[in-house]
Every structure is written in structure tokens, then in C-alpha cells.
């Protein structure tokens, strides 16, 4: 019986591996079919996968251009994320300490979230120029809200009976924050990090469509390749943008599980 159990587990795990691969191969097949059925003079719209690999990945100059862009985008988005984490968490902590701070400032956090980022970007550029600083500022604006809400929610969702426990033993505010509210908030905080990390990558790429000076990051390259109809390189840039997004999302999920996984069921 246990043997059968094991074999069905095994089957389901190989199944999990194979099913997506089959889908991938199917998509590749359709891709080839479409690409090869196009007129030769229109094939630039969808070059075959091997062309994409030859031009976009195996040509060193082309690949290095994209990798350099990637590096720049990583620098911008991660700087933005770190600032968003510091600012977002400290404002959430302040809001959790006094109702009036929350009442006065939370609406503005919501506004930052709801104003379309495309409307803010030109203004930021106008004020701060088109270099590193304004790109980072855009990332901060786009990624700070989930950190504020998740941290605040975590700090405030401590069950009342836990607070009673701390009251009974005359714990002050700092103790309560450090030993009760903060650990209670950790799972929510990591959820916030994960969402914000993805947003901040998007912010770095989208922001670049407006910042046409300085070192080109992935956003600028995407725009450039599109304008020059360099579809193969467009695909390369696209692949690296997605990989970056997936990597930060997965990375923060991993760190989160490392920190709270022992006692908290992460989804």
C-alpha cells in the first residue's frame, strides 16, 4: 500500500514536470508554424525561435547590450525597492502608533496608489531630471503602497487577547511593538515585499519609456528595438525582463518562507 502511495506521488511529480514542458513544446510548434507561413518580407514580425536565439542570444554584442540594460534596470529597481521598504515600513509603524497619524496620512498613500503612474512620470522628470534619481523615485512611488498596507495590517491584526497578555504584564509600547506587533506582521510584510518587488521592476521599465537620456535600461532597449524593428533583440529583452520579475518575486517568497515558514503556513 505504501509502495502504491509512493508510485502515485512519483507519477504526480513527474506529471508536474512534464505537463508544462509539453505546453512549451506545443507553443514552440505553433510559433514555428506561424513564422514559417509568413511572407519572407514580413517574417521580421515573428522570426523563428532559432533566429531569435542566433541573433538575440548568441551574438555577443547584442546580448551584452541587453545584459547591460538589465544590470541598470536591476540597480534602479532594487534601489527603489529598498527605499520603498524603509519609507513604507516606517510610515506604517508610525501610523500604527497613533490613530491621528493614520487618519491624516493614509488617504495620501491611497492617492499615490490610484494616480496613474504614467501621469506622474513626466512630472518627476521635469522636477528631478532624467537620471538615476527620478527613475528611482518612480519605482518608489509605484511600489510603496503594498508595503504600507501590508505592514500596517500586520501590526494592527494582533488578537485582542494577546494585547491583554502584554497589558497584564505591564509591557510598554516599544516592547509591544517589538515582541508582539512586529513578529505578528512578518508574514504580511513579506507578502508586501513580494508584490512590491514585482511592481518596482515594472516601475523601472515603464519609467524608462519617458527617460530618454542616460544609460539605457531594459525599458529604453525595448522601445528602441521596437522602433527599429529588431524583433529578435526585442524578444531577448522581453525574456530578461520577465526573468527579472520572476526572480525577485520568487526570491522574496523564498526569504519569506525562510523567516516565517517554521511557524506560518505560507501559500
Amino acid at each position: 500500500m505504501s509502495a502504491r502511495h509512493t508510485s502515485s506521488r512519483l507519477r504526480s511529480s513527474t506529471y508536474r514536470l512534464w505537463a508544462p514542458i509539453v505546453v512549451f513544446l506545443a507553443v514552440l510548434g505553433v510559433w514555428y508554424a506561424i513564422s514559417l507561413s509568413l511572407d519572407p518580407d514580413r517574417q521580421f514580425l515573428l522570426p523563428t525561435p532559432n533566429e531569435v536565439i542566433r541573433v538575440g542570444f548568441l551574438n555577443q554584442d547584442n546580448l551584452f547590450q541587453v545584459l547591460e540594460g538589465l544590470l541598470w534596470t536591476v540597480a534602479v529597481s532594487m534601489t527603489g525597492l529598498v527605499i520603498a521598504i524603509v519609507l513604507g515600513m516606517s510610515s506604517a509603524i508610525m501610523m500604527s502608533q497613533a490613530k491621528w497619524i493614520e487618519t491624516s496620512f493614509y488617504p495620501y498613500a491611497v492617492i499615490i496608489q490610484t494616480v496613474p503612474i504614467l501621469a506622474i512620470v513626466p512630472l518627476v522628470g521635469l522636477w528631478l531630471g532624467f537620471g538615476f534619481t527620478s527613475r528611482v523615485v518612480v519605482c518608489v512611488i509605484i511600489s510603496i503602497f503594498p508595503i504600507i498596507t501590508n505592514t500596517l495590517f500586520g501590526l494592527q491584526s494582533v488578537p485582542a487577547s494577546f494585547h491583554d497578555l502584554f497589558t497584564l504584564h505591564s509591557a510598554g509600547r516599544p516592547t509591544r511593538l517589538l515582541k508582539l506587533q512586529f513578529p505578528n506582521a512578518l508574514p504580511a510584510i513579506f507578502t508586501g515585499f513580494r508584490i512590491s518587488a514585482g511592481l518596482s521592476v515594472i516601475g523601472a521599465i515603464v519609467g524608462e519609456f519617458f527617460f530618454r537620456k542616460g544609460i539605457p535600461g531594459l525599458g529604453r532597449l525595448l522601445d528602441l528595438y521596437r522602433a527599429r524593428l529588431l524583433t529578435e533583440q526585442l524578444f531577448t529583452a522581453l525574456v530578461f525582463s520577465s526573468l527579472l520579475g520572476i526572480l525577485v518575486f520568487w526570491g522574496f517568497g523564498f526569504i519569506g518562507r525562510l523567516v516565517v515558514g517554521k511557524w506560518h503556513e505560507t501559500t
Binding site: S161, L168, H169, S170, A171, K179, P183, W263
Partner: protein, 264 residues
């Protein structure tokens, strides 16, 4: 060693639960009433004293103000009228829910109160270890609460309070959420610890058998606003074992308590 002590504890004869207590009184409620800001009149003119060695159980219908009474006794809630006086020393307070911090291991949870009270590390560890041994959970120090059964969590909660060696304990339906077998087992364990630690207790329950089995005194409360309808003294000597429940005298006493409750 614990057993010899058990037989020394006699049912307290301070059966008159009214009036001012003696100097050893652990807690006294004098004509305490509670009306919440929304107008709910929860507790009405309750007076009672708890002396060392006394195990006083309060039974009453749901929502009659039992938890409110304990919250006032602990200082978590101000009284509306009357006065609560509590002797020096810590208060052990076990809630219906074990209220263990999920991010702390059993050991760390049990150390919490000592930590909040500023005891130094070595002392904290030793006390926690002793308390964990006392509730019979040695070997589970490194487990997280999520990995424990309901009964084990309650024992951790009890151990956590024991670390401060409080002369007075409040129990707010601590075994209410447990199955009957676990409850009986923990009743015995609690009596063993009661004998060992020698505290006074106010215990709340819905279960009349549990009430009579554990206590030196049983108080019956009316439905809201809660008043003390009647107080019973339980004459059975400690140590008690589960066979007591089949004693005719036991059945008679629970019957009497039940009648008072039913008439209400």
C-alpha cells in the same frame, strides 16, 4: 511529595464569601458592579474573597458576566461600582484560548512573562524548564504551537503562568474547547499542580462536574446582570481522583448546583 501536600489543603472554611477579608486574602470583590458604556449591565453587586488554598469556581449561564468579573479582578477592565483589592504578587491568568505566540517555540512562549518582567536569561530559562516539566511537556520545548494538540497548548499556557509563581490564578474556561477525555485528564493534572504550587484560584466553567470536582467552593451566578445566587462548599478532601465522580455525595452536590442554575 506533591501528594502529601494535597492532603494538607482542606476545604477553606471562609465560606462566607462576603465582607472584608483577612490580611492573607488574595483578592476581594466588594459589591462590584459593571455597566458597559453601551449600557449593558453585565455584573451586579458581586462580593467574594479568595484565601490561599481556596479553589473557587464560578458557574453561570453564558453571557452572565463571568469573564467580565475576571477582567475586573485582573485590572484589565475598570469596575463601575464597588472595589477590587488584590494582594501583592503576580496574577496567573489562563484564558479560554491558549493565546500562545505562534512565532515562538514552547520554551520561548513559556519564558515570555519572565521576559516581560525583566528577569535575566538564565533565570528565565530555568523557570521555563521547570514549569514545562511540571505540566508534563518535557521534550516539547522546541516545538511550535501549531504542532501541538489543543490540550498540550493549554498546558503550555498554564506553564507560562506558573513561571511567575503567582499566589493567585484566574482560569477563564480553560478546558472549554477540549474533548471530555482530555478535559478529565487535565482536571487531574490541574489538581496535582494546584497541590504542588499552592495557589488560590478563581475558575470559570460551564461544566458542573468539573466545577465540583476541582473546587473547594462553587459559586452560582444568575443570568445577566450576573449576581451570586448561591455558594456551595465542596466537602471532599484532596487528593481527589476520578472515582469521586461516581460517589453518591458527588452526584447529590452537582444535582443541587444544577437545580440552582436551572431555577434561574
Amino acid at each position: 511529595m506533591g501528594d502529601r501536600q494535597i492532603s494538607n489543603i482542606q476545604p477553606s472554611n471562609s465560606g462566607d464569601t462576603r465582607g472584608r477579608g483577612s490580611s492573607s486574602t488574595l483578592i476581594s470583590f466588594d459589591n462590584v458592579s459593571k455597566t458597559f458604556p453601551d449600557g449593558t449591565h453585565a455584573v451586579d453587586n458581586v462580593s467574594l474573597n479568595v484565601e490561599p488554598g481556596q479553589f473557587m469556581t464560578v458557574v453561570g449561564p453564558s453571557g452572565c458576566g463571568k469573564s467580565t468579573l475576571l477582567r475586573m479582578g485582573s485590572g484589565l477592565l475598570p469596575v463601575s461600582e464597588g472595589e477590587v483589592r488584590r494582594s501583592e504578587g503576580n496574577l496567573g491568568y489562563v484564558f479560554q484560548d491558549a493565546t500562545l505566540l505562534p512565532w515562538r517555540t514552547v520554551q520561548k512562549n513559556v519564558e515570555l512573562f519572565c521576559e516581560l518582567r525583566g528577569l535575566e536569561r538564565g533565570e528565565r530559562r530555568q523557570r521555563a524548564k521547570d514549569a514545562i516539566d511540571l505540566v508534563g511537556l518535557s521534550g516539547f520545548n522546541r516545538h511550535y504551537p501549531a504542532a501541538l494538540s489543543g490540550g498540550m497548548r493549554m498546558r503550555v499556557s498554564l506553564a507560562r503562568s506558573l513561571t511567575l509563581d503567582p499566589p493567585l490564578f484566574f482560569f477563564d474556561e480553560p478546558f472549554g474547547a477540549l474533548d471530555e477525555i482530555t478535559r478529565e485528564y487535565l482536571n487531574l493534572e490541574l489538581l496535582r499542580i494546584f497541590a504542588h504550587a499552592g495557589f488560590g484560584a478563581v475558575f470559570i466553567t460551564h461544566n458542573l462536574y468539573e466545577a465540583v470536582f476541582l473546587s473547594t467552593d462553587v459559586l452560582v451566578m444568575s443570568s445577566r446582570p450576573g449576581r451570586i445566587l448561591k455558594s456551595f462548599q465542596v466537602p471532599f478532601p484532596y487528593p481527589r481522583d476520578l472515582d469521586l465522580r461516581f460517589d453518591p455525595a458527588f452526584a447529590e452536590l452537582t444535582g443541587e448546583v444544577s437545580e440552582v442554575l436551572r431555577d434561574e
